[in-house]
């Protein structure tokens, strides 16, 4: 437990991603089974111990310290687990810490009654740092800036295996993942996941940029503006995964009993409507889909107002057969044949865009804005389905971004390597005629799109033009114009301007342009896609 606590402490104070990877990898290499498996679980998906709640901790402490002192301390520290770890009376005997596995075993065995006597015994065996790790572990949220993906990447790094392969097995396994460690660390056979509804890593595309492809070799499809999903059915169960491999099945229950065969399908999750691709396209805007995202439970009303469906791109596995090594053309044939066996209420197939040549395709793409489609995908006809991004196989060819001139209003320090630079910018458009006294209203935030050289100049500009400080944020003189590129703009109640940009980034810094020539809110509003 001391090693795990030391790891948690080190991660709390580390900003650099590489350093975090190194810390976790070193821990996984040096720690025996099954401790390291539990640690990996705690860092990735988290462990669940229903008997231990934040309120349990509060109650335990209020028995041991004056309630007023507890409340004052808790308010100052801001975190129940940390406050409790600091206030817990030090045991008289030197602590004899349990191993991580022992801790997990004990926590797992507690119920709502026994927790009140068992948890204190465990607390008494640890120092402040150990108590913090224990309480964080027990309440299920480490919140130390480590994502599930980062933990898996560290695992892959520790044992020199591919993270995609780790992802391939991950969802079929349970903590403390003995099969995974046996395979990666001890060179045994990989885990058998055929009959489990597990996530398979996605194949991704590169931006096309200046490349020109021959349509003899490449097929074109629309790039729909929803979210990329994977629908998996195996062992009698269906699951829906997001691009990062998160299980979002609970958010879209209508898709869980409509797939009649074992399969792994790749597609775009959309909501019924007519914004994208017109009436024939049959999909609503991204904004409509957003109403459904991130919900743990879904009301009947939601299901009726925003019915979701999957527009299929590809088929990876079908009735026990792994199609991924086959060329795209063959997978496409299988997908088209398959589509007729699926209910049209919840599936359709992303059609292939026919064009005489690249020129022609280019014109079709330009028209895609009216249809509110993100752009085109180009897929090499002989490409197998390979996890990750491989050069030359798939390209995304987004329609040109929208551009608008905005004025820099606030800047904030970045994180990690950029922590000494003001690198996050908030910019605004004029709410009327600036020459008649109109104000700027913030319309977006960006922290990318400039070179290191430009960053230095921007940083200097912020420092020299600061007119106000609010904690880490600087308000600047309103005099620098950014040409901001973004993919689309939507109505938003969260912003004072009533608008929210999708994927804003700084396209050009217009050192030359006077701020009153920047765009007005109305100009931006005219670009709203829905």
């Amino acid at each position: 437990m001391e090693e795990f606590a030391a790891l948690i402490d080190a991660l709390v104070y580390t900003r650099s991603r590489n350093e975090k990877l190194r810390l976790i990898a070193e821990y996984l290499q040096a720690t025996p089974d099954p401790d390291r498996g539990w640690a990996l679980a705690a860092l990735s998906d988290g462990l669940d111990f229903p008997a231990v709640k934040s309120s349990t901790i509060r109650n335990l402490l209020k028995d041991r310290i004056d309630p007023v002192l507890w409340t004052l301390s808790r308010d100052f520290v801001g975190d129940t687990a940390e406050t409790a770890s600091l206030l817990w009376p030090a045991p008289e005997e030197p602590p004899s810490p349990p191993t991580l596995s022992e801790t997990v075993g004990l926590l797992d065995a507690m119920n709502r009654k026994t927790v009140l006597t068992e948890l204190p015994l465990l607390m008494d065996r640890l120092d402040a740092s150990g108590r913090y790790a224990l309480l964080k572990l027990a309440t299920g949220g480490m919140r130390i800036g480590v994502s599930s993906r980062l933990a898996k990447t560290a695992f892959a790094q520790a044992f020199d295996v591919s993270v995609d392969e780790v992802e391939e097995y991950w969802h079929g396994l349970k903590p403390p993942y003995p099969e995974l460690f046996a395979w990666a660390a001890d060179g045994e056979d990989p885990p058998d996941i055929e009959n489990l509804p597990t996530f398979r890593p996605f194949m991704l595309a590169h931006p096309l940029e200046e490349t020109v492809v021959d349509l003899e070799d490449y097929a074109a499809e629309w790039k729909w503006d929803g979210i990329r999903v994977q629908l998996v059915r195996a062992g009698g169960e269906t699951r829906l995964y997001s691009r990062s491999g998160d299980d979002i099945s609970a958010t879209f229950p209508e898709l869980l009993d409509v797939l009649p065969m074992n399969a792994v399908l790749d597609g775009e999750l959309l909501v019924r409507g007519s914004t994208q691709g017109g009436e024939a396209g049959g999909a609503a805007s991204f904004n409509a889909l957003q109403q459904r995202l991130g919900r743990k439970t879904v009301s009947k009303k939601m299901l009726a107002e925003y019915p979701a469906f999957v527009r299929l791109y590809d088929v990876l596995l079908l009735e026990g057969e792994d199609l991924r090594p086959q060329p795209w053309t063959q997978r496409r044939e299988r997908l088209e044949a398959l589509a007729s066996r699926l209910p049209a209420s919840h599936f359709d197939i992303s059609s292939v865009v026919e064009a005489a040549d690249f020129e022609h395709l280019s014109r079709i793409r330009e028209g895609s804005r009216e249809d509110a489609i993100e752009g085109l995908m180009l897929k090499r006809k002989d490409s197998p389905y390979i996890a990750g991004r491989r050069v030359g196989y798939w390209y995304k060819w987004k329609r040109d971004p929208l551009l608008v001139d905005c004025v820099l209003m606030y800047a904030q320090r970045g994180s990690g390597k950029r922590s000494s630079f003001f690198s996050d910018y908030t910019f605004g458009c004029w709410d009327g005629d600036p020459d008649k006294g109109a104000d700027l209203l913030p319309v977006g935030k960006a922290y990318s799109g400039f070179t290191d050289e430009e960053l230095k100049k921007l940083d200097k500009h912020v420092r020299q033009n600061t007119i106000n400080r609010f904690g880490p944020v600087r308000e600047t003189e309103k005099k620098l114009v950014f040409e901001v590129a973004f993919d689309s703009v939507h109505e938003s109640k969260r912003h004072k301007s009533g608008l929210a940009m999708r994927f804003p980034r700084i396209h050009r810094i217009r050192w030359d342009k006077p701020p009153h020539e920047a765009d007005r809110i109305d100009a931006l509003r005219a670009l709203i896609a829905d």
């Binding site: 709390v12 801001g78 000494s420």
Partner: protein
């Protein structure tokens, strides 16, 4: 008949001693001030007459560039003020020159601690417990979560990290008066003999400490050296320089901060600190409550800090206490 202790009045801008027409640590310029120590929230410039230890006066001279009206008092020395008030300066163990001020009038004894700690500190004499009727104590770390670990542990953490990264430097943020010199002295005590590099803003105060007999070993200025000289070295700077452009001239610094607040993870993260060092020149909760017990005053007055919790503790332990709402005390020196 005069009411007991009516001669001493807590006002928003300091403690006023009426018969002597004189203030303790006033937060604005007055004719006559008694100053406990050199931190900016206690020692302001511009007083007509300033009574303080010679070290505190030297610090004030360095900071405010004036010696006008300076009246030195040694530790243990008593001076007689107007109106029959005696003031005695007693070591407070906080920073160089820091003192508690014992005020005596008409047989009544009042102690104003200024800031203090009970730990050993190679840069100043230790806090002395003196009995009194009213004890006016600080409460910067007046919450039971604050428990400063032994400084040896924090030094070991710092030196371990330094050794683990011979190509980088460890940049320690520490307040320019007191904390920086204590950290350097403690490093020397832990056997660290390498040159220590200083941000320019630290130099004069370090020299002043040396002139007062505090050995800091070999000190160098960052400005005089290239990146390569500082690999594997400790660099000390004011906290404000930690995330500043200034640090770009250092070899891939590991950011450390020496402060009592580092006990709280979120505080350390807010400052982008990678290596939190829980080192404070203030009393922690245990020291505060122990001191109140030992001094055993008839009444405790609690000033700047987290008064609520200490007040509650006094209540739970049947000790009379009240919180003073002084303004302008900002924890320059946490």
């Amino acid at each position: 008949m005069r009411a007991p202790f009516s001669w001493i009045k807590p006002e928003p801008h300091g403690i006023y001693i009426e018969p002597a027409d004189c203030w303790v640590d006033p937060s604005r310029a007055v004719d006559h001030a008694l100053v406990t120590h050199g931190h900016a929230d206690h020692a302001r410039g511009g007083h007509g007459r300033t009574v303080a230890t010679p070290e505190t006066l030297a610090i004030m001279e360095l900071r405010y560039n004036t010696r006008e009206g300076a009246t030195p008092v040694e530790y243990g020395e008593t001076i007689r003020l107007k109106g029959g008030v005696d003031a005695t300066y007693i070591p407070a163990g906080h920073v160089l020159g820091s003192a508690q001020i014992l005020l005596e009038h008409a047989g009544e004894r009042v102690i104003v601690t200024g800031d203090y700690k009970r730990r050993e500190d190679p840069t100043c004499p230790p806090f002395e417990v003196q009995k009194c009727d009213i004890f006016i104590t600080e409460a910067t770390f007046g919450l039971p979560v604050f428990c400063h670990p032994p400084i040896e542990e924090e030094m070991a953490k710092l030196l371990d990290r330094l050794r683990a990264h011979p190509d980088r430097c460890v940049l320690v943020g520490a307040y320019a008066l007191g904390k920086a010199q204590r950290v350097i002295s403690e490093l020397r005590r832990a056997g660290h003999k390498d040159p220590i590099y200083l941000h320019g803003a630290m130099e004069k105060m370090c020299r002043l400490y040396e002139e007062h007999g505090v050995d800091l070993g070999e000190l160098r200025l960052v400005a005089d050296h290239g990146k390569d000289d500082m690999r594997g070295a400790i660099v000390v700077c004011p906290p404000s320089a930690l995330n500043d452009r200034w640090s770009r001239r250092l070899p891939d610094p590991i950011t450390a901060m020496a402060s009592g607040w580092m006990r709280i993870r979120q505080r350390a993260r807010q400052r982008n600190v990678e290596l939190p060092l829980v080192i404070s020149d203030h009393a922690d909760w245990g020291e505060l409550t122990r001191t109140i017990r030992e001094v055993d005053a008839h009444e405790n007055w609690i000033t700047h800090g987290r008064e609520d919790a200490l007040l509650r503790w006094c209540q739970l332990h049947q000790r009379r206490a009240r919180a003073l709402a002084l303004v302008g005390y900002e924890d320059e020196d946490d």
